[in-house]
Amino acid sequence: MTHARNLTLAHLWIGFIAFAIALVLGVWQMWSRSPLPAPFLTASTYFSSVTAHGTAMAYVLTTFMIMGFGYYVAETSLARPLPAPRWAWIAFWLGVVGTVMAVITIFSGRAAVLFTFYPPLVGSVFYYLGVVLVVAASWIWCVLMIVAMGQWKRANPGRPVPLAMFATVANAVMWLWTTAGVAAELLFQVIPAALGLKAQIDVGLSRTLFSWTLHAIVYFWLIPAYIAFYTMVPQAAGGRLYSDTMGRLTFVLFLIYSLPVGIHHLLMDPEQSNAFKFLQVALTALVSVPTLLTVFTIGASLEIAGRLRGGRGLFGWIGALPWERPLMLATGLSFVMLGFGGFGGLINMSYGMNAMVHNTSWVTAHFHLIFGGTVVIMYFAIAYTIWPSLTGRAAPSLAAQRTQLWLWFVGMLVMTLPWHYLGLLGQWRRVATFNYADPIIAAWGPWVIVSLVGGVLLLVSGLYFVYNLLQFAVTREAHVPAVLYATAVHPPARVPAALNGFRLWNVLVAVLMVLAYGYPLAQFFVIDPPGALVHRVDQRR
């Protein structure tokens, strides 16, 4: 590794520090919502905390983790130094400046708009600029990933790009498409309003633009976990990847189907039509397919590993897997949470059932489970797996890592399962204080407290994670590099251009976005609906 070591460590530390702070805020928020009296609670502090927690978890932890891991994959899987490392550092500092700017603005009470922005509520321009800088940093990363893959292909004509890098660049290409929505919303609507240049906003247009980003962003977060599933887990399990081709196809399917489905976040909105909601729900059904394919392919890969280790019988291979290895354990726990969370997702996409759960705690529980659970546990495992080569030290204690992962898993289930149930009972979202004197709401109290306990377990686990990383500095054992990336059962000598590059898929994304989002966006210019007055959350009356 030439440049990636310091880059990856820097990015991951920023992400994990933001994560740790956000965990503390999250527990305080759950305490505030519970029947137990919480300190410092006012409407203003609560919603500023929600904004900070969401911004840190959804924009900072994720973007920095993905960028750092991407640099690592680029150098290790392609076995060449990163192109233009100076640009990578410029991007890093841009992201840090943006993060600090956003955080300071939120904690000064000038940006209680939540990480999903909610125009016509408009906060300080410095909050939005902070987010824009983080996104701009990620764009630089995207270009570097694309350039790195292009350089490797020119140096290795006709050879298949290593799957880990192919998937990373698929994610980068998808992210460039994804951010167009929120960038347009910020640049043309929200930031001009924050600067005082516009006194009203077309809210339907801003919600639709944000929805363009809102679904695909969760796949941006999720793909590093899937990169670990396909390229690292089979190796850690002692087996082979069942099918390299299916891996490539999975990432391609995510690229094309993550984007034209955002309106499923607007199923309960009036400003989008039944017809286009139906179309995007049908496309959402398709974006479930790559996850289902992954479960099969990785399951088959693990079966190979289990049987190689002597497992017999229909399910005996499961017990034979090396569960003492943290990456293996995390995968198993992640798959369990994927089962619950994925099932919840299927409920959300059917608008009849969505009407029962929209904007209830079910939604909050769902994304904490599927992202905070399935994906973040793999972020931990990825960090544990690459930390030895980043620091040159062996892991001080695998038992401590396993305990931390188990604690996260248990905490996540204890927090989110009752939360799903409360959503079905009608508990709604984004509330600082519930009226526990009302008999309907009083019945929810005990479950809210159970969820809070889960949240506390998560906080302990998250801090334990940071502690485990710090412990690498204490151990004196040198690290012996191991083979990181899995080999396929039948490693392809050549793959079609369609599975080695993105030209065809970019065309298809463009076609799909025109079909799925063309009229839904154009209608705002055709109908020209009346705008809503800007409501400033950062200024004196």
Partner: protein, 269 residues
């Protein structure tokens, strides 16, 4: 590389999948569902499809309600982006008109008798505009203000509002006041979910993002604030849009009204 023959199956199957999904969605979502739903509700196919596509309001599956209601507005103020822009610009015309207001509201917007006449200095321009317009239109009644406001033109009302908003707020009096009761502070910062009362600061605080015409309450006289809350509670004052203040005041106890008025009149900025 474009002509790679092994790519053809991918191009083919990708196009087939996309066309199939699109055709399936158009067939069911754009055509069949609306037509069949409309038929059951007695709506013709063309209308159902227009509604399903969002080209016409309403559901393809149910008749669309019609309203013949007449407007009975409780205020005649019409907000617009242009109005908000004008209110943000301090105006020389306002300064010359304000002479007539000084007898009660003071030359610099600091009232000569805050118990009777509210401070206007540093008040939100939208709030002043709203109340002055309401006096003018009769939505809010006061013997003196009605007579003074009626002859004003719309431009003059805007100018006066922008003018007084530009003054600094009255400083806090040096007198010591008792710390507010915890229950009052709670109402101010957290509201009361049991009575569905939002935190007062949710609309009246700085950095709240509440209704545009919500006035700043800080440093306004205790007596004036309490009188207005009581007027809302008794239904004597009815110019608040969609009864936002009437519904809050109706739920407040008398002692809370006094406590809140005292809180805000002594509030540090």
């Amino acid at each position: 590389m474009d002509a790679d023959p092994r790519d053809r199956p991918f191009r083919l199957w990708a196009s087939v999948a996309i066309l199939a999904v699109f055709a399936f969605s158009v067939l069911f979502g754009f055509v069949l569902l609306p037509i069949i739903q409309g038929r059951a509700a007695g709506i013709d196919a063309f209308t159902s499809i227009c509604r399903a596509l969002g080209l016409a309001p309403g559901s393809p599956a149910a008749p669309q309600p019609v309203s013949d209601a007449k407007a009975h507005p409780t205020t005649r103020v019409a907000w617009s982006a242009g109005l908000m822009d004008s209110l943000a610009r301090p105006s020389a015309a306002g300064a010359s008109l304000a002479g007539a207001c000084a007898a009660c509201h003071g030359k610099d917007g600091r009232s000569v008798d805050p118990k009777l006449y509210p401070d206007l200095a540093g008040q939100s321009a939208a709030a002043i505009y709203k109340q002055l317009s309401d006096f003018k239109s009769g939505s809010r009644k006061n013997a003196v203000m009605t007579a003074l406001a009626q002859p004003l033109t719309e431009e003059q009302v805007v100018a006066l509002a922008a003018h007084f908003a530009s003054f600094p707020v009255r400083p806090l009096p040096p007198a010591q006041v008792a710390a507010p009761a915890a229950a009052i502070e709670r109402l101010v910062a957290r509201g009361d979910p049991a009575r569905a009362i939002a935190a007062c600061n949710a609309c009246h605080g700085d950095r709240s993002g509440g209704p545009v015409e919500a006035p700043r309450l800080s440093r306004q006289s205790t007596q004036y604030l309490a009188a207005q809350l009581r007027a809302f509670k008794a239904g004597e004052r009815r110019n608040d849009i969609y009864s936002r203040m009437q519904s809050v005041a109706a739920a407040l106890e008398d002692s809370e009204i006094d406590g809140l008025a005292a809180y805000y009149s002594n509030e540090p900025l």
